[in-house]
């Protein structure tokens, strides 16, 4: 750790960042706050409503349902992607020409626009013209993600695993490659098993990058919109309508600005609180 010197003029260095982000964050946020306490019947006429929208959203079954779906989805993909990403990073070659090949190919899904990911998985998984759909049906399962909720969930989760596991792999791999060879040699002399090498050398060294990976995956999966929207449109029925999809339905579909704004703020607050809990928990572990 660097010992920092106190210097108030450092504010000048951060000023451009503050101005740009504030322009993009504070003004829209105030707009949302503004809407969240008012009612409108069009024509830019607004009435003060206080906390009515917040009460309405917090008691609405629709919100509870999409929140539950969101939490389930995020939980499942974190449970799959983090261990899988670590496992793949552990088995990747450490040096040689294959390293670049692996990294380039693995990073590819990360750079595909999200609606293309959705469209790609749509045509990949369609039961009649898609490769995946044909394969699963060929194995004797009745699979149609546009009709069956379970198949829709399976496809959405598989798509997210396809899309984002590489991020965990890249970060975990970076953590692993920072371990000096001497550590492994010492472990070999001590006769350490593969498990204890992982538990006492590799895992501690990956802690920080894994913190970043888990935080990023948590935040991004909690905000997921485009991919499931293009893939399933939130259906069949409402079974894959996650929080963002529901929010856009209310805000732009029904144009209920008040409830949508209240929901936005509650939604944002949930992400903030959960991220903060994750962050402090993992940082506390690191300090021990």
């Amino acid at each position: 750790m660097i010992d920092k010197t106190t210097n108030q003029r450092a504010w000048f260095l951060v000023l451009p960042v503050v101005v740009l982000v504030a322009f993009n964050a504070l003004i829209p946020l105030m707009t949302v706050v503004n809407y969240s306490v008012q009612e409108t019947f069009g024509n830019n006429v607004f009435f003060f409503e206080g906390v009515r929208w917040f009460e309405q959203i917090l008691h609405s079954e629709r919100f509870h349902a999409s929140l539950l779906r969101q939490l389930t989805f995020t939980g499942i993909i974190l449970l799959i992607e983090v261990p899988l990403g670590v496992a793949i990073a552990l088995t990747m070659p450490k040096k040689g020409p294959w390293v670049s090949v692996c990294l380039v190919l693995m990073a590819l899904p990360l750079l595909i626009p999200w609606n293309v990911v959705g469209a790609m998985w749509n045509i990949f998984a369609l039961p009649d013209i898609g490769l995946l759909g044909q394969m699963i049906n060929g194995m004797g399962f009745d699979y149609n993600f546009t009709q069956q909720p379970l198949a829709a969930w399976f496809t959405t989760i598989l798509m997210d695993v396809w899309h984002w596991t590489s991020l965990v792999v890249l970060l975990a791999y970076a953590g692993l490659s920072s371990i000096p060879d001497a550590y492994y040699q010492a472990a070999r002399i001590d006769g350490a098993s593969a498990w204890s090498v992982f538990r006492y050398i590799q895992l501690p060294k990956m802690k920080r990058v894994l913190t970043i990976a888990i935080l990023l995956r948590f935040m991004d999966s909690f905000m997921i919109y485009t991919e499931p929207f293009v893939l399933t449109g939130g259906g069949p029925g409402n079974t894959t309508t996650f929080l963002s999809i529901d929010l856009v339905k209310i805000a732009l579909g029904q144009f209920d600005l008040g409830p949508a704004a209240a929901m936005s703020l509650i939604y944002f607050l949930i992400i903030l609180v959960l991220s903060w809990i994750f962050y402090t928990l993992m940082m506390r572990n690191e300090e021990q």
Binding site: L103, I123, A174, F268
Partner: protein, 266 residues
């Protein structure tokens, strides 16, 4: 057991390539073939889908628009994030920790929350439907990310470097540009990779802030898919073309990715 280690990454990469293969193969098929019989590779190989895209300005302008705002956003984010990250890594100042956390909270803001207010804001300042609007809007999540990653890289560089330069009579900016930036070149490469990536793939805001003149390619795709029936071949060709800039960027920074990450581990 040990000899089978290569199997895991190989199987994983195979899994990653399958949907991409399907997209590419579909882009060379005719609509008839796609909707007709199921075939593993194109039977009547055609380039028509690509020809349509390269000759129709509404299609190829989409690519120019997307690449323009992504490039503007990457340059803007990195150039303002560099001095800020330096400040966070070297100095203590009033409210520094709160400011850092506030920046990160913007990385956590769901774009869906901001879509409508963004539309109103950028319409009000007269930037609606320009690539600049999208480039500025993407700063919301890219600047915090850039500051976050760069701060990590910079904290890994000993402060003696700065002090020696100041003793040698370098001014702050001269030191910063001549010595410091070259030292963290790998880190800048990684950051540019991430800002490019998140700006290139984001669509909700890009779509909200544009209508005709600055429409991103991915939005052009959505429109075609919904209005002109279901031209899957065209959709697949356009999708394939959106993968290419990304592949190019990864190839460009491939040596820096692993090295850069390792450096930035802190």
């Amino acid at each position: 057991m040990k000899n089978l280690k290569w199997l895991v990454p190989t199987l994983y990469i195979l899994f990653l390539m399958l949907p991409i293969y399907w997209l590419v193969s579909m882009s060379f098929k005719t609509t008839n073939e796609i909707l007709g019989a199921f075939s593993l590779w194109p039977q009547e190989f055609t380039l028509d889908n690509y020809i349509t895209i390269f000759t129709d300005p509404t299609w190829y302008n989409g690519y120019f628009n997307s690449l323009t705002y992504v490039a503007m956003n990457t340059l803007l984010s990195v150039s303002v994030a560099l001095p800020a990250a330096y400040a966070f890594s070297r100095y203590r100042f009033l409210g520094d920790k709160h400011l850092f956390f506030w920046l990160l909270t913007n990385r956590m803001a769901p774009p869906a929350v901001f879509a409508l207010p963004f539309f109103q804001l950028y319409s009000a300042v007269g930037l609606f439907d320009t690539t600049l609007a999208v480039a500025l809007a993407h700063c919301l999540f890219n600047i915090p990310l850039a500051v976050w990653i760069l701060e990590g890289f910079m904290s890994g560089i000993p402060k003696e470097l700065d002090e020696t330069a100041y003793v040698d009579g370098y001014s702050f900016w001269r030191f910063f540009i001549r010595i410091f930036i070259p030292t963290i070149a790998a880190g800048i490469g990684v950051v540019m990779f991430f800002t490019f990536m998140f700006s290139w793939v984001e669509l909700l805001l890009a779509k909200t802030l544009t209508s005709v003149a600055a429409k991103p390619i991915a939005a052009t795709m959505t429109r075609t898919a919904s209005t002109a029936g279901y031209e899957l071949g065209l959709l697949a060709a356009a999708g394939t073309l959106t993968i290419i800039p990304g592949a190019f960027v990864i190839w460009f920074v491939r040596h820096h990715i692993a090295k850069g990450f390792a450096l930035g581990r802190v």
